[in-house]
């Protein structure tokens, strides 16, 4: 899978961080790198663990487009993304 953040770090010589990264693409997709496991999965809410916290994504018709060991991609109508 194409790793957006690795490419960006390479391109701009950014320091290597062990924390998570996420990017919301026009509220239709949320790309996450460095997750630590799924906590909740439903059409309206998907939550997952990250280092030192939990990310909760709310929306409609949500689905996990891709789920691998460290990355995931949520697809659907994303209304709110909160980090606790």
């Amino acid at each position: 899978m194409f790793n957006l953040f690795s490419e960006l770090k390479k391109e701009f010589n950014l320091p290597y961080v062990t924390e998570y990264n996420l990017v919301n693409i026009t509220g239709k997709a949320l790309y996450v790198e460095g997750h630590r496991g799924i906590m909740t999965l439903s059409k309206e809410l998907i939550s997952f663990r990250v280092k030192n916290g939990v990310v909760v994504v709310e929306g409609k018709s949500l689905c996990l487009k891709i789920l691998s060991e460290s990355t995931l991609c949520i697809e659907g109508k994303i209304k709110k993304t909160e980090v606790f």
């Binding site: 496991g37 799924i38 999965l41 996990l64 891709i66 789920l67 060991e69």
Partner: protein, 383 residues
């Protein structure tokens, strides 16, 4: 990326149960990449994964007691593979049909029915000579011509039909029936008397008679000749057949000598043992026999197996003495007559006896009793 995913053989799982989050976390810990994870209902989730992960996914599903309610294969590789298998089946079917059609064009087996005296091999070799054998094209066989040729080649066949059925060539034949009278024309044997006797009755069936009632015949005398003379005076060979009954005499003789020397065993015996290996003597008992008059009895037995044949020869010398005896004929006459009678009856094999008599011939101390039993029986050997 998308093309790569679609190329691979993927499986869509629809699962039912609870605690899907744990399942998903377990699977990604096993480095399994999941796609399009969608919750359909509270307890139903569907997702895609590569075929190579199928076993691990199913193990994890079992561990968490989650059921698979639907499973579907996707991907170009899967499509190609299924097409390949389907094509394989179709092509195998086509090849089979072609093979069956091709095989139907040839004769593989020759079956012969109705033969009794003619062997099947005889018919098959005849067909081979006519160019018909296994793997001959059915179209090249002209059954009508074949029938004619078989009858010409094998004269003992009176009727034959040849037909092809499936991959077999069936030959149905009927052999010529020859009457006994014509089977050995010119080689018939005359009827001969099996014993001496006087002809009592004659019933001729076929042939020319050589005897008449009242004639005396000896053993092997010709009774009926194997021919007839037709109205034009020509000899015609036929099987000689007749029923001829004759008085047959069975005679038994017993001879008595007024003075004779008889030998008796004294009971004294001497035994000698000799050993032989492969008929070569290895031990011979060389003791002398101090008996004036003796008889010997020899018996053999093997001491070991046939691989090492050691033979034991046992010779028993029995001492005898001879005494001159004088028995007047009149004293034993009745006994001897009875003995001769028994022997004569034995010879007649208990056939119906119609008469019996005896004669005694005496000549210088030698008396011969001749006992004759007369029976009435067929004089022809019916075998």
């Amino acid at each position: 990326m998308k093309i790569n995913f679609e190329l691979k053989h993927n499986i869509k799982y629809k699962i039912q149960g609870y605690n899907f989050e744990k399942l998903l976390n377990n699977l990604i810990k096993n480095k399994i990449k999941l796609k399009k994870i969608k919750k359909i209902d509270d307890n139903i989730v569907e997702f895609y994964s590569n075929k190579k992960n199928d076993k691990i996914i199913k193990n994890n599903l079992n561990k968490l007691n989650i059921k698979i309610i639907a499973q579907k294969d996707f991907g170009i590789l899967f499509f190609l593979r299924s097409i390949f298998f389907r094509f394989g089946l179709v092509s195998a079917g086509i090849i089979s049909i072609v093979f069956i059609l091709l095989s139907q064009m040839f004769v593989f087996k020759i079956e012969v029915y109705g033969n009794e005296k003619i062997t099947k091999q005889e018919v098959i070799s005849c067909l081979n000579e006519l160019g018909v054998n296994p793997f001959t094209l059915k179209n090249s066989i002209n059954t009508f011509e074949l029938e004619k040729s078989i009858i010409e080649k094998i004269p003992s066949i009176s009727l034959v039909s040849v037909m092809t059925k499936g991959t077999s060539l069936i030959v149905n034949l009927q052999e010529k029936v020859i009457n006994d009278e014509y089977q050995n024309v010119g080689s018939f044997e005359p009827l001969k008397a099996v014993s001496a006797g006087r002809i009592k009755s004659v019933k001729l069936i076929q042939g020319t008679l050589n005897v008449s009632v009242g004639d005396l015949v000896k053993e092997n005398d010709i009774l009926v000749y194997p021919y007839i003379i037709d109205s034009s005076g020509n000899k015609k060979s036929v099987k000689a057949e007749a029923e001829i009954v004759a008085e047959i005499w069975f005679e038994s003789r017993v001879t008595h000598y007024d003075e004779c020397i008889k030998t008796y065993e004294t009971g004294v015996t001497v035994e000698k043992n000799n050993l032989y290996f492969l008929d070569l003597p290895i031990y011979i008992d060389k003791r002398e026999i101090n008996l004036n008059q003796y008889e010997t009895k020899v018996s053999y037995s093997y001491l070991s197996s046939f691989l090492i044949p050691i033979k034991l020869e046992k010779v028993v010398y029995i001492e005898t003495i001879s005494k001159k005896e004088n028995v007047p004929f009149e004293e034993v006459k009745e006994t001897l007559i009875e003995q001769a009678r028994k022997e004569a009856y034995q010879k007649s094999e208990n056939k119906s006896v119609i008469d019996e008599y005896h004669t005694i011939i005496s000549n210088v101390g030698i008396n011969t009793i001749s006992y004759v039993v007369v029976v009435e029986d067929s004089i022809i050997n019916l075998q």
